[in-house]
Point group: C2
């Protein structure tokens, strides 16, 4: 297992610039000379966002990043599926382990947020989601949503114009209103199911009452932009919330809960007449996980 | 069920002042004329922090708030145990449901953060923990830890001098370093147990590998100030993490996991020679939950 260094590298504050990948390597901010992800099974410590993957989306305070692998070194086009291995597995592991990822932007990236030349260390981000999709070249790519970790030392990149529309990602004025709206929808669904998990039926009971979580089927954030409505929410126990979000389980067209790897039926989704679920959202979830 | 209004009241931004409780009531910012908590079984929407309970601790960006009930109206002393009912149950429910709580400070509170006269709306806080303890007068009191929800509209109260020593509560320069240290301890414990829950033995498997959570036995934040070391951490599945933190289960001196209400043995804590657990921390957890 590689020795990982998570977090800031002393001596290289946010905004530090580097002429080239060698200097970035020597500083220890991003050690590989070519790979966009520094990571493996045990976690990922840094990424370079430089426009190498056409599917990358950079919104400053959040980044939808494409995993690596499957590219033809000459044409730079995707010629094979990407796997959840090496750096891709590392980014997913850093999500689960809560470790921060150093983000470096290069001159080839999104103009609004990238340096004009060379490379710039832009601070620590947290991986908040991962899934797969079919990329522009017709092959499966893994995607990772990263969100800046704000600290007074590290001013966030400027938010995009329409950031307020898509999710609680930056220091945007509407965050409280959205929070309130979102908890109302979430809690209405939990009450429709009396805090019972729709996958396993468990009702977690505590001295302060029942506990359940509201899981958005199609996530609210970029690039999914799922709606915050009851038909896009499931009432789940925390364990099944983790498994659903990580794509370990999915719901098929007949309402069976299935294991993503074996496709074995694990249970039937528990439904109630009061709560209508939009099948298109379940299909979206299957498309990116199953 | 009372009609609840969570979040900011339009027309009353952070810093709005009120001469007395009647004006606060009329504004809808905190509706009860006497009670410190506006809430019930279904949630709590606002509290007043005004020094009425000697056990209250106000650190600006975080508050350790005492529940209500059990006080003699004349002597103002605690003469009976508090129960997890009415507003106390409401604060716990707002924690579970993720609803924000309006915080109003009155002139009788902690000098550094309270208005000189009258009452002041100080913004939205989130309930992050609840537990019970024996208060200064010898009776059980319920306690709630609230942490400010920061937004650009709502500057946080100034942090206390030693805030940097106790937890990730404000916008303090060391937050990232602490984050990194904390994840290292947490992840070391998860690996010692191979991501297997020490209560139920489940190993949540996802396409990206195993998932587990690190639960601090004695919480890191105020007022517990538990240490961030492996002997104060359990490896739990998310469900048992919720139940342990909410005090629905506890670990007895023989290592049995028991239901807090019935004291029934649910399982034996799964241990490994590599991971030494400090029995004093388990005792602390029992004291405040069992």
């Amino acid at each position: 297992m590689a020795q990982r260094t998570y977090g800031e590298i002393p001596g290289y504050p946010v905004g530090s610039t580097f002429e080239n990948r060698e200097m970035l390597h020597d500083a220890g901010v991003h050690r590989p000379l070519q790979a966009g992800i520094c990571g493996g099974q045990d976690g990922a410590e840094s990424i370079v966002v430089s426009g190498g993957y056409p599917d990358d989306e950079d919104y400053g305070v959040e980044i939808v990043y494409t995993g690596h692998g499957g590219k033809d070194p000459n044409s730079k086009r995707q010629i094979a599926h990407q796997e959840l291995t090496v750096g891709n597995a590392g980014l997913a592991r850093s999500q689960f382990d809560g470790n921060p990822v150093r983000v470096v932007r290069g001159a080839g990236g999104e103009k609004a947020y990238s340096p004009a030349t060379g490379l710039r260390y832009d601070g620590l981000y947290r991986v908040v989601d991962h899934w797969h999709t079919i990329g522009r070249d017709g092959f499966r790519i893994w995607r990772f949503r990263l969100v800046t970790i704000e600290s007074p030392d590290e001013p966030a990149p400027p938010p995009t114009q329409d950031a307020a529309e898509v999710g609680p990602v930056g220091r945007i004025p509407t965050v409280i209103q959205r929070l309130v709206r979102s908890t109302a929808v979430a809690n209405s669904v939990k009450r429709m199911h009396d805090y019972r998990c729709q996958v396993c039926g468990i009702q977690l009971e505590t001295p302060a009452g029942f506990y359940a979580e509201a899981a958005h089927i199609r996530a609210l954030g970029r690039p999914h932009l799922g709606p915050d409505v009851p038909s896009n929410v499931l009432c789940l126990c925390p364990n099944h919330h983790v498994l659903f979000d990580a794509g370990a389980i999915y719901i098929d067209v007949s309402g069976s809960v299935r294991d993503t790897e074996t496709h074995e039926e694990l249970s039937k989704l528990i439904v109630t007449a009061r709560h209508t679920i939009n099948p298109a959202q379940l299909e979206y979830h299957r498309d990116i996980h199953a």
